[in-house]
Subunit: 209 residues, 2 copies
Amino acid sequence: MNADAEQAGTETEAGTWTGITPDAARRLVMAAVEAFAERGYHATTTRDIAGRAGMSPAALYIHYKTKEELLYQISGVGHRLSLGLLQDAANGGGSPAERLAGAVRAFVIWHAEHHTTGRVVQYELGALSAEHYTEIVGLRRRSEAAIRSVIQDGVKAGDFDVPDVSGTTLAVLSLCIDVARWFNPGGRRTPDEIGALYADLVLRMVGSR
Amino acid sequence: MNADAEQAGTETEAGTWTGITPDAARRLVMAAVEAFAERGYHATTTRDIAGRAGMSPAALYIHYKTKEELLYQISGVGHRLSLGLLQDAANGGGSPAERLAGAVRAFVIWHAEHHTTGRVVQYELGALSAEHYTEIVGLRRRSEAAIRSVIQDGVKAGDFDVPDVSGTTLAVLSLCIDVARWFNPGGRRTPDEIGALYADLVLRMVGSR
């Protein structure tokens, strides 16, 4: 196992799951994130996940009927938390430039601090059931709508110059999400520093005056 | 299996592997890309790969001693091809803005057209042996150096305004690479259109005059 895989620890991501009760269900979710990140969804069994959580397969089954239910819960919680931060900043006070910078900063910091969860959520979308996939795509469309709406506000106010609003929205989200792929907690830049850099780059992308 | 997974076909990526001989080795590589993209590296066995290529496990073993050797070949070919296109554009003629736009366009089009290979290469880096990982990281550093050098040329010439050259280089590469994650051959934009959009966005990021 090389350095990248070793650094995919979830210590800092534990806070993500505090809303999941009871304690046993939360431990299973954390074990599943770790296992999926290390070996991929399809190479992980519910037995592996139960073992990592110090539980029996039968005890896992009380909380989650299938491995896909675990992935769905991880994906749902991850998408809802990052969407909430994005919307709070995008709908907050200030000029369109301040709101866009705040939204990018919040979304980038989330993806840096939760890079292990972020990778699982992004790479394993195709393993969700059709029904769960549709629900998660709905959450992704809401993130897109939040960014698009701030960009449109900036264009209307004459603050931004954006020839292709939907393409630019796509690029902004992609730039932020990909932080989860390359972020290294032992690297040179902190999540806050990357957030500040990216907020500046995105204001340049929209031609902010 | 949902729409995303269905569209991860490799028909358009077949040309990537023409340099691999003999024909049996090339068929094994193409089968491995498909299998890794569908189920992940760790969930794929050499028996699965041989079966997809219409060969026996013993016939696979003549060409590749381990599954990791297949991943290493896929990753090496993918990185060398995309690096070559990037360097040709970055070191070609024209102003720094023309060279940067050309490099981004070439790198983006490669990641859109080879999105299945691109996903395997990016998501499974951690499964390479330590020695192979080091070699691939060396190729990645050369892509980074090509982009950084054009940005520095633009800054020196007074054409670009870039407060953080290494951070901006990182963001430009990340933006291009992430096209492999979200690109959908049935979507609204062609690889060429995304290349043109991204070249414009990157010129804005570097404050091109």
